[in-house]
């Protein structure tokens, strides 16, 4: 104990600090350990040897990494594909209607994804009537050309935008559709004109395929 204290005093005293080696010196001579180290020269790989064993080790590690990466990728892919629509859903998602059988001035209702879809073959008089309306006076202003790709054919979801009843065709004050539940009147373009409904009848996605109409 006594010797430890005196040794501590010795190293800490200013006089001895000057003669001692500097602690933070970075010259290699000062850093050189005074311990005797064994000679590893026999075990050091001689210069110019090829890296066969090292490459083999890394190749093994890399192959495991490759397999796990491929496995992780297909796991994620399998999980993501469960989110896409299955074939039976896709098969039900479209409805094809032959338009040749629908005479001018007639309504047809088809079922699409469990919802009624109104198809009306409009006469020229009805098209003119739909275009004549001043859209600024409407509750949900929309041009007739925005609602019908082909003015002859009006295709829309037959669900009242108020509370979801199915409107009656060729009825109401505006010659279009009338919802019997709460008395919403739609015109010949399916736009809301009178009654509680806030919006025009919705237009589904559709395209014409020759004489057929594909909804969905």
């Amino acid at each position: 104990m006594l010797s430890l204290r005196s040794a501590l005093r010795n190293t800490c005293s200013l006089r001895t600090l000057g003669t001692q080696s500097r602690l933070l010196s970075s010259t290699s001579l000062q850093n050189k350990s005074t311990y005797r180290t064994p000679d590893f020269g026999d075990y050091v790989r001689p210069q110019g040897t090829d890296d066969k064993s090292r490459v083999f080790t890394y190749f093994t590690v890399g192959s495991l990494g490759l397999l796990s990466a491929a496995g992780a990728k297909s796991t994620v892919e399998a999980f993501l594909t469960t989110m896409s629509a299955s074939a039976d859903v896709l098969a039900m998602a479209k409805v094809e209607v032959g338009l040749a059988a629908i005479p001018e001035g007639k309504n047809v209702v088809v079922k699409w994804q469990g919802k009624p879809v109104f198809i009306r073959h409009r006469t020229q008089g009805e098209i003119d009537e739909a275009n004549k309306v001043d859209i600024n006076a409407l509750r949900d202003p929309q041009q007739d050309s925005d609602r019908a790709q082909n003015p002859e054919w009006l295709i829309m979801l037959g669900i009242c935008t108020h509370l979801g009843c199915v409107p009656i065709g060729e009825a109401g004050d505006f010659g279009g559709w009338f919802c019997p539940c709460h008395g919403s009147h739609y015109d010949i373009s399916g736009r809301i004109r009178k009654g509680p409904a806030p919006l025009n009848l919705e237009i589904p996605q559709y395209q014409f395929d020759g004489d057929n109409l594909v909804i969905g």
């Binding site: 090829d50 090292r54 490459v55 890394y58 490759l66 491929a70």
Partner: protein, 72 residues
């Protein structure tokens, strides 16, 4: 420089290149593996698959050559 030293210096020395090689290899491996497994499966079940027996059930099916294969 030997072959292995070349590999070590070009692919393994830098970790970014090593990992990048592994990922690129995973993509390539997956495509290869898919094709290999599909080929094996179709070879193993030859004559029982829908594309082999389709001609027997569809009038419009023009691939009648599938018929002679399921006699084995």
């Amino acid at each position: 420089m030997s072959f292995y030293t070349n590999i070590y210096n070009s692919l393994i020395k830098r970790n970014s290149i090593f990992v990048g090689t592994i990922f690129a290899g995973a993509f390539a491996f997956q495509g290869f593996f898919d094709v290999a497994v599909t080929n094996f499966y179709e070879n193993h079940n030859k004559g029982k698959l829908w594309k082999d027996i389709k001609g027997k059930y569809l009038e419009g099916g023009d691939d009648e050559e599938g018929d002679d294969e399921d006699d084995e």
